[in-house]
């Protein structure tokens, strides 16, 4: 009996053992170099966890469990190491495990903040604004609430223009930030940061508060320290079209580079990105080259619709970081272009004596050959106690223009045909040096700038234009040279939060002009020439007080200077005349901050005395129909009052940004420039008539981002009233111009497969002249554009756009519709793109503009319907 019981027990225990065996696993986990790892050990059976434990400090583990299957999975994992899985037989045993290092967790952010604020820094998370059709960072910035991008590419944040644009906190581009916004890939940027109240000069940080806005592109770590090179090429028809691009970029810790080549004949303007978008205090020379070939005026629509070009542009931008505080930058740009423009222009000029309009019709063809080279080098040391910054700019242009014009009018018979040719080279050299020393309480600032330029222009006009010109050709030569040097030094002292500045400035600015018109017979032969040197010298002091009282900040600036002007007229027996003035220029700036919102009041008064108009007594032909000469024997006096009140508010969490402003500007002059008509040509004259003009304007902007459909709405409205005077045929007329405009931009992503951007702008303006029975209509303009992106497949995007342009004053074609379509296919490193532009094949575009009493109508020839195929390739 006992035996039977014993056997039974034995059998039962054996059975349970086979059904559910107790297994014990043990061993050690180490890394590849043998170091112990406190890894997590799990035992799994068909996806179910049977047991788990953590290895101890010496990497040893022990697990006891029971399993039903014959085979189980032993898994060891640890943060920073690749998980290993081992299929083992379900029995006890020793298993030593080795893990391979270097594994990162995958980054996941499900609900990313679109905009965050830390102190005065606002971060726009690029991934939350970007959609499949955005290629470069500029495309994404357009959709960010609070940031506005103008047509020229200028960026402003909540109504204030951007003062600095950095990539990874380095100033590579010195104001030519279009190169970054148009070339840096949106995929490479993690966030767009806006620094408010940014003082980039460390030596002025506690002394001089700043209200400047700086934008910084914060790159993804994958885009840093590596070259990124891409190329694009393509062709189209009709006419035969080509386009090509090559860009290379590197953003490292000690070096940054952006090099681009862009060329096309398809109407894409490659130069806008090469222009500086900020006023970087580089000296401005006073002289202007006045001669030009008559070209049809800009129609105000996208340039790719009308420009007939052959453009090539190269830019090279290089930054070296010598040490953590010192940078050396070089920016080189070369641009070559051949721009053909053709169109018609109708000027309806009011003649007060006859109370009628004189109509002049012009058929204009022009071709500009442009060659432009510019180089900027900058050295900057930005230490806490010492700031040193030197910028040297060299710019050389050798441009020439050709043009033909056929002119008819309502008051002459027949048509006149003219050929024009302009040689228009120029060279300019400027340098700016800033030096700031700070010893904690005082800061000593010194700014020095100097510049020189040389512009020899020559315009020749062939054909029969007017009675004054018996000869076949008129040749106008105009050579101007200018030089300036300015020094500003100030010492600031901080007493109990009140900053006191004592500024001292001195400098000169002068212009030498030689001009001669050949082929025109005038009674006084001297009137065909100009030869003079005009200069200004000033020396003065500029005391400034700034005082922050709590949230209130006041700044008063009172500059007083002695001004000397001289004119050496070589046509007038080398007579030198001097004038002396004492000039006072008060400025006031008040701001009141209410948390994230602030109110700013600015009042500026400016009094100018200028004698340069006394110089140019000889006739100058500025274009084939326009002549100018000065008959003034008195000093030009201008007084300007600029007053503005602005309110800025923002709440980044709610994605609301807005600003509103009121401004009043008054200008008082003791002379006025207007026109006299002489046959077909217009002669510009200046008469000593006192006049005052006023401009009142108001402006509101509101930006709001929504999480709903990932949308952004940007709204703006502006209204203004200008009360001014105009001089026509020696009589003064007072006129009012009223205008208002509104704009709305919506970008939204209603579905995964679709994105849309809608832009509308509407404007009205009207000029009324007192005392004249002239019908002055309202000019109404409207532009509406709708862009739709359809994501047909993961890598196939269809873009369809329609645009309506409306003007109420044209007799026909009030609405001009444009249509464009584009299909993009992305595969591996390639983006294939097939585009059809101007689907409705619009041939011309008419624009009407309205000044004081004159109406200008211009009709531009457009690019006809064309098809382009391009391929963009990411090489690195």
């Amino acid at each position: 009996m006992k035996r039977i019981f014993f056997i039974t027990v034995l059998i039962i225990s054996a059975c349970t053992h086979t059904i559910c065996a107790q297994i014990k696993l043990y061993g050690k986990v180490s890394d590849t170099s043998g170091g112990p790892l406190e890894a997590m050990i799990t035992v799994m059976d068909a996806g179910k966890i049977l047991a788990h434990t953590l290895a101890n400090e010496s990497g040893e583990y022990e697990l006891s469990f029971s399993a039903k299957s014959d085979s189980i999975t032993l898994r060891a994992s640890m943060l920073g190491y690749t998980t290993i899985k081992k299929n083992i037989v379900a029995s006890s045993g020793l298993f030593n495990l080795t893990l391979q290092g270097g594994k990162m967790l995958k980054d996941v952010v499900v609900v990313a903040d679109k905009i965050t604020q830390r102190g005065d820094t606002i971060n726009y998370n690029v991934a939350t604004f970007k959609d499949g059709s955005d290629r470069v960072i500029g495309d994404v910035i357009k959709k960010m609430p609070g940031l506005e991008v103008s047509q020229s590419g200028r960026i402003s944040f909540n109504g204030k223009e951007v003062k600095n644009f950095y990539v990874e906190d380095m100033d590579l581009l010195h104001g030519r930030y279009g190169i970054a916004t148009n070339n840096v890939s949106a995929n490479d940027v993690a966030s767009v940061q806006v620094y408010q109240n940014h003082q980039p000069i460390r030596a002025l940080k506690d002394i001089s508060p700043s209200e400047d806005i700086t934008i910084n592109l914060k790159l993804k770590s994958s885009a840093k320290g590596t070259w990124s090179i891409s190329a694009m090429g393509g062709g189209g028809y009709k006419p035969a079209l080509w386009t090509s691009e090559l860009t290379a970029m590197f953003f490292g810790r000690n070096m940054q580079n952006i090099t681009t080549y862009k060329g096309n004949n398809s109407g894409v303007n490659v130069t806008t990105e090469l222009n500086s978008m900020i006023n970087d205090n580089q000296p401005v020379l006073i002289n202007k080259a006045p001669l030009s070939v008559a070209t049809p005026p800009n129609p105000g629509i996208a340039s790719r619709r009308y420009i007939d070009n052959k453009s090539n542009a190269i830019s090279l931008n290089q930054l070296f970081k010598v040490d953590s505080l010192t940078t050396l930058t070089l920016n080189l740009a070369y641009y070559n272009d051949q721009l053909r423009k053709s169109g018609e222009a109708i000027s309806q000029q009011f003649e007060p004596v006859a109370a009628t309009y004189r109509n002049v019709y012009k058929e204009l063809n022009a071709c500009n050959y442009i060659n432009s080279l510019s180089a900027v080098t900058n050295f900057k040391r930005n230490d806490k106690n010492l700031y040193l910054d030197n910028s040297l700019n060299i710019k050389a242009d050798w441009n020439r223009d050709n043009g033909t014009a056929i002119t008819t009018s309502s008051f002459t018979s027949g048509e006149t045909m003219v050929d024009q040719h302009l040689d228009n080279p120029s060279i300019e050299l400027t340098d700016r040096l800033s030096f700031i020393k700070n010893n904690g309480k005082h800061a000593w600032e010194m700014y020095f700038s100097a510049g020189w330029n040389h512009k020899p222009q020559s315009l020749s006009v062939g054909g029969d234009i007017n009675a004054l010109t018996p000869s076949e050709n008129l040749i106008q030569n105009y050579t101007t040279d200018a030089a300036l040097a300015n020094l500003f030094t100030s010492r600031s002292l901080l007493i109990n939060k009140v900053s006191l500045y004592t500024g001292f400035f001195t400098g000169f600015n002068m212009e030498n002009v030689r001009s001669e018109i050949d082929g025109m017979q005038l009674i006084d032969n001297d009137l065909t020439q100009n030869d003079y040197l005009f200069g200004k010298f000033n020396i003065g002091i500029q005391p400034k007080v700034s005082y922050p009282i709590g949230d209130f900040y006041a700044e008063l600036n009172l500059s007083a200077s002695y001004n000397l002007q001289w004119l050496n007229d070589r046509m007038d027996k080398f007579r030198t005349t001097n004038w002396n003035y004492f000039i006072l220029m008060p400025q006031m700036h008040l701001t009141y901050k209410m948390g994230r919102n602030w109110l700013a009041l600015d009042v500026n008064y400016n009094r100018m005395r200028d004698n340069s108009q006394r110089a140019a007594k000889g006739v100058v032909m500025t274009d084939y129909l326009s002549f100018r000469r000065s008959e003034i024997e008195r000093t030009m006096k201008n007084e300007t009052w600029l007053t503005s009140l602005a309110y800025y508010f923002s709440n980044p969490f709610r994605q609301i940004f807005g600003n509103a402003s009121l401004s009043w500007n008054q200008f008082k002059h003791n002379s006025i420039t207007g026109y006299e008509y002489d046959g077909l040509s217009t002669v510009s004259v200046t008469l000593p008539l006192r006049n005052t003009s006023n401009r009142y304007s108001t402006n509101i902007n509101l930006n709001k981002g929504f999480n709903f459909w990932n949308s952004t709405i940007k709204m703006g409205a502006t209204a203004s009233l200008y009360k001014g005077n105009s001089l026509i045929d020696e009589s003064l007329f007072a006129f009012n111009t009223k205008s208002w405009s509104g704009s709305l931009l919506i970008s939204t992503t209603p579905a995964r497969w679709m994105g849309a951007a809608l832009a509308f702008a509407y404007g009205e303006n009207r000029s009324e002249t007192k005392g004249l029975e002239v019908d002055s209509p309202w000019v109404r303009n409207w532009t509406g554009r709708a862009d739709f992106n359809f994501y047909l497949m993961r890598n196939l995007i269809l873009n369809v756009a329609a645009e309506d342009n409306y003007t109420n004053l044209t007799s026909n074609y009030r609405h001009i519709w444009f249509g464009d379509a584009k299909i993009t296919y992305r595969q591996w490193r390639f983006d294939w793109c097939l585009a059809v532009n101007n689907i409705f094949n619009r041939k011309s575009f008419t624009k009407v503009s309205y000044t004081a009493m004159d109406i200008y109508t211009s009709t531009y020839k457009l690019r006809e319907r064309n098809v382009m195929l391009t391929v963009r390739m990411k090489i690195l």
Partner: protein
Amino acid sequence: MKNKIKLVLHLAITLISILPVSLYAQRKDTDAKVSPSNYVSATKGRERISDANIRIRYAFNAEDMKDKSTWIDEGQLKIAPDMTDYSSYFIEVNEDSLAHWFEVHGRNRAYPPLRWLEGYRNNKWIEYQYSQITTKDGVLTEWATMPRELDTENLYYTENLPLFDWQIESDTATICGYECMKATCHWRGRDFTAWFTPDIPVEYGPWKFGGLPGLIMKVSDNDGIYTFEAVAVENGNFPIYAPRGSKYKQSTRYKVWKLQRDLNVDYLKTTGHSVFNIKLNRELTSRRHQYTQLELE
């Protein structure tokens, strides 16, 4: 007749059984207000005690996962090699912003009345946002910051890492891009369901939760009152700051737990801040609202 009684009984039972379900997710319905940040709290006393290289952020009691203004808090679990820290991300962003603001504008400038604090009713206090949980060497510490009237009474206590008797199940789900497995347990008076991912091999989770063979990506009680759900997994460098140390007095878990409950239930009575309303001729009491703690015992 019998049938009718049966029906009434059935209805009564059904109604009673529905009642507990009608408990809604815990919102910030308390009268307890947050003490406003100031220059000192924003810039001083932030001692960096460790550096985490992984951070997981959790939405706490989100009504709409896509809209942060409906979340009570965004919590952050920082995992350093030697310790972990669960604290409020919303509060950290706010303090950083304020510190930066003072840095730029100086200490005497009045700081913005609208703080940079996100979330649902951001001026109200709740312990799950204002307590910081750190774990180190098997010991858990709760640094409990109290609301405005009691901000000198901040407390801390330590306990051994709580034990959870997790039952791992075979259900799977993807949360925040990671594949997760289901586990359930009964802990401190409530039934909880957790989703953890073996792909992040740490035994931690939001608040005090942990003890699973992988990071807890989502945990909620079975009544749906409290929910933490991961919204971000980030690699990087995330400093862990000590709570502003000296101001916290040592206490016990029970005392902290009871004070937090009392503050939620009747704030005015608990803080001793009586407000006498002449019109009503009586002392005001806190607004009544439903409140039930995450840990019931």
